[in-house]
């Protein structure tokens, strides 16, 4: 017991000095013309896996409780169960790779609006205000796909109230969104996003801090042919 506490204290000390970890979140949507498709959400912490593995030996860091591997797996299973309960959502898969600290959730949807329902249900389950969720719409007639995220002042305030060492975690974090379509992309609103050579996919990479400072930075309206 004592030795565990000692190890904990020393690892905590080291982590406090060096905890500017780097992680990436990837959001992928493969959208069919009829509005159905598959979404994959991935958290990739492998670039910081030595730090994450060290932190996972602790019970808390910077005053925040560190979940165990079993708890993370349990939460993922709960998420999958909640998603399966949403009408129109199917083929739900989760993956937890603790060799590389990569976690992912993927599911099929019949309508884009079901993604919003899924996010809403997940955020509510985790007691996160639903205003933190992005919304997705797809108009089959006009073939327009829109992603909207409006930063709530409360979210930004919460970030600003974080301790400096907690803010460090987000300093180098990246967000990547990839939307793949069956039709060619005719135009899009977000000039920071790029269109693939095949004209059937749109990618946008941005630091997560950009989203925290301006939610609108990830918005896009994509017009398909």
């Amino acid at each position: 017991m004592k030795i565990k506490n000692i190890l904990t204290s020393i690892l905590l000390l080291i982590s406090l000095v060096t905890l500017s970890s780097c992680f990436e979140t990837v959001e992928e949507i493969n959208l069919n013309n009829d509005g159905s498709g598959r979404m994959t959400l991935t958290f990739n912490g492998s670039q910081s896996k030595a730090k994450l593995a060290s932190v996972m030996k602790l019970s808390s860091v910077n005053g925040h409780r560190v979940p165990t591997v079993a708890e993370i797996k349990h939460e993922l299973a709960q998420t999958a169960a909640k998603l399966r309960a949403i009408p129109g959502i199917s083929n739900v898969k989760t993956n937890a790779d603790f060799q590389n600290y990569i976690l992912s959730v993927s599911f099929d949807f019949k309508e884009v609006s079901q993604i919003n329902a899924a996010f809403g249900k997940m955020l509510t389950a985790y007691k996160i205000p639903t205003y933190n969720a992005a919304t997705y719409t797809y108009n089959k007639n006009t073939k327009t796909f829109i992603k909207t995220y409006q930063l709530n002042p409360a979210t930004k305030k919460q970030y600003n109230e974080l301790k400096q060492e907690d803010k460090e975690v987000f300093k180098s974090a990246q967000y990547t969104s990839v939307y793949r379509f069956q039709s060619l992309v005719k135009s899009m609103a977000n000039t920071k996003a790029s269109v693939s050579a095949s004209k059937k996919a749109v990618m946008h990479k941005t630091p997560i801090l950009n989203i925290i400072n301006s939610g609108a930075s990830v918005n896009n309206s994509i017009q398909l042919q």
Binding site: I10, A53, F98, R180, N210, A216, S217, N220
Partner: protein, 690 residues
């Protein structure tokens, strides 16, 4: 002979009594905590101007004033009006309904002081016989006596169950319906406040310090009609304010996202996307607002009653902290001294902190107050070459007896061969008797539970079962009780990460391995055993189950969990010591009989005289943390400068003597720093801006 004896006795006792008068701390014995600010010492080490310039210095000073909630203007310490030649005090007292945080401040310039705490012509004042009450911002209260040489500031935190008692709630015009709804009380008459429980007992205690002459005044009877009228007026004002606040809330406009284009990338085109309307979350429960307003106004009445009682207590009766058994006064060089009195804590606090194992929210209020004489004191001392945090805890007779048995062991001298004072970054060691620990644990659990008055029978039963199940003697042989944990070095380790490579044509991804480098510490742990056989059996069982492998007499843990672990673990048993380390070479050297180094005389002394001890050399980490691609160079320079400026950190805790156990943390300050107070102040400022 008898005369001589009495003369000698008086000669001894008179200076003791005189000293006791000077060390009197104006706080009640059952205060939850007490803090003494030694302003004369602080201002002998620094100046108001320098404190103003220090972030932590000015913040600590402002905490004296309840000013931490005031962001309107910068605070100038030189214009605080506080008398820096006298000490200031803070203490917390709680009842089952409210918690008072009381600040007693020595005042030199009353006008400056009033301005400093935000009193102006608009501040509501209530004149009473002995002084004036001021209703401050954020529902805080100030009292300044007519003498003007000190002030009392009171903040309160109403516990959420303040009006769970329906009789009390009714008396104060609050009608509470269980659940989340509050019903408007419209016809209930406002009753007078509860009388402040004036103490009538006579206490033979030392006089209050000269710093805080608490006037021995006649009790001021709070007229019941006046209280009723005050409560009604307060309700009316509070309801008006609540109505104004609600009007503002109804017209809340969510501000535009204030995004600085100069600092971050802006996706200008994104603004073309139609924004999703956002509905702000606002309270529209008028009943709830009304309840809060009423509650606040009642709390203000209680606070005034509390202060009235406090000033009426008199010079001798309020300074009862010294009545604590074996009380120790703060040292001369202590800038701040903190007392925590176990009498002030009870099961209700535990409920608040930990949820207390399923006790009913309504039942825990009935739990008894613990009655024992345990207390703790922490002093922040400054010396020419060191900053010392000295903690003292007074234990009950049973706890003291148990602790003495547990720590009745010397540190294994053989460990010295495997600790290097010159090269190791940090060491933590302890010497206890495992057998005695196992035997005393049930006794201590019973003692603690008895003091808390909780589950006494259940705890006693479980403790007895523990005694039957555990073979203390056998376990005490396997793990003798002394051990050391050594942080040997920090070295670079390589690992593979996964990056995504995106196909330009389809934006489909493939995974690509990339080599990353990280600086990580290495450890060596050792503990004594008198039963190597059972540990070998355990390790061999691990071999059988393929959790370990063995090569050249060294066990090493296999990575079977499927989870990445940056550390490797090696184990060996030699000369009655079990070694576990993260570096193979270290364990091989131990196997081959090579000593790791030697322990310095001062470290040996620390080991010999204490049950728990340790030291840490921050300087040995300078340059050890590589600069990642994301870190800016300036940050690494700052980290290294900070580590380089830190002296050796030491901590130790000795055996129990006279029912008291001491623990010290020392930070040795660099030789070029003559003033350890300012050194600490600037160090914390630097740490905040790393």
């Amino acid at each position: 002979m008898k005369k001589l004896y009495y003369t000698l006795l008086c000669g001894i006792l008179i200076p003791v009594a005189a000293r006791a008068q000077k060390t009197g701390i104006p706080a009640p014995k059952d205060a939850k905590f007490v803090l003494e600010y030694n302003l004369p010492f602080v201002f002998s080490q620094t100046t108001a101007e320098r404190l103003n310039l220090s972030e932590i210095g000015s913040k600590m000073y402002e905490d004296l004033f309840l000013k931490n909630k005031n962001y309107e203007s910068d605070f100038d310490i030189s214009k605080s009006g506080i008398d820096h030649s006298r000490k200031a005090y803070m203490h917390m007292v709680n009842t089952d309904s409210i918690e008072y945080t009381v600040r007693l401040l020595p005042v030199q310039n009353i006008e400056l002081f009033r301005a400093a705490i935000g009193i102006d012509t608009k501040t509501k004042q209530t004149k009473v016989d002995k002084g004036i009450f001021y209703d401050l911002k954020f529902k805080d209260l100030a009292f300044i006596p007519n003498t003007g040489d000190y002030a009392v500031l009171v903040a309160s935190s109403g516990t959420y169950n303040a009006f769970d008692d329906s009789a009390r709630a009714e008396r104060w015009g609050i009608e509470y319906s269980k659940g989340y709804g509050w019903e408007e009380a419209t016809t209930v008459e406002v009753a007078p406040p509860e009388d402040w429980e004036a103490t009538t007992e006579t206490y033979a205690v030392e006089a209050a310090p000269e710093d805080f002459p608490v006037p021995a005044v006649e009790a001021v009877e709070v007229p019941k009609e006046a209280a009723r009228s005050a409560a009604e007026q307060a309700y009316a004002a509070a309801e008006e304010a609540a109505a104004d606040a609600a009007a503002v809330a109804d017209t809340i406009v969510v501000g535009d996202d204030t995004y600085d284009e100069d600092d971050y990338l802006v996706d200008s085109a994104a603004t073309a996307v139609e924004a999703v309307p956002y509905t702000p979350y606002t309270y529209d429960d008028e009943q709830y607002e009304s309840y809060q307003s009423k509650k606040d106004s009642i709390f203000m009445i209680w606070k005034k009653d509390f202060v009235t009682g406090f000033i009426n207590e008199g010079r001798d009766s309020y300074s009862r902290l010294q009545e604590l058994k074996d009380f120790e006064a703060p040292g001369q060089n202590s800038a701040a001294t903190f007392y925590m009195n176990n009498l002030g804590f009870n099961a209700r606090d535990l409920y608040g902190m930990y949820g207390l194992f399923g006790i009913s929210r309504y039942a825990y209020r009935e739990l008894p107050m613990p009655l024992n004489e345990n207390w703790s004191m922490i002093q922040l001392n400054f010396e020419a070459n060191a900053i010392r945090l000295n903690a003292t805890s007074r234990l009950t007779d049973q706890m003291a007896k148990s602790s003495n048995r547990i720590y009745k062991r010397k540190f294994n001298k053989k460990f010295n061969k495997y600790i290097n004072s010159q090269t190791d970054i940090g060491v933590i060691g302890m010497a206890m008797n495992t057998r005695n620990y196992l035997e005393e644990t049930p006794v201590m659990v019973k003692d603690v539970m008895k003091n808390f008055g909780l589950w006494t029978n259940e705890a006693s039963l479980l403790a007895d079962i523990f005694t039957i199940v555990v073979d203390e003697k056998a376990t005490g042989k396997v793990i003798w009780g002394d051990g050391a944990f050594v942080m040997t070095n920090v070295k670079e380790k390589e690992y593979q990460s996964i990056r995504y490579k995106w196909d330009e044509d389809t934006y489909e991804s493939t995974e690509e391995e990339q080599t990353e480098k990280e600086m990580l510490p290495n450890f060596l742990m050792m503990f004594s055993t008198k039963d190597e056989g059972i540990i070998r059996k355990l390790l061999d069982y691990g071999l059988h189950k393929e959790a370990y492998e063995m090569k050249d007499g060294i066990y090493f843990a296999k990575k079977v969990s499927g989870r990445y672990d940056p550390f490797e673990y090696f184990c060996i048993i030699k000369d009655g010591i079990v070694f576990i380390g993260t570096e193979r070479q270290e364990i091989e050297n131990i196997r081959d009989g090579k000593h790791r180094g030697s322990v310095s005389a001062s470290d040996k002394k620390l080991m010999r005289k204490n049950s728990v001890f340790g030291w840490f050399h921050p300087k040995k980490l300078v340059g050890k943390f590589g600069q990642s691609e994301e870190d800016d160079n300036l940050k690494m320079v700052k980290v290294n400068n900070m580590l380089n400026s830190l002296g050796v950190m030491q901590f130790n805790s000795g055996k129990v003597k006279n029912n008291k156990v001491r623990a010290d943390f020392n930070l040795i300050t660099p030789n070029n720093r003559a003033n350890s107070f300012e050194y600490l102040m600037y160090l914390i400022d630097d740490l905040k801006h790393l």
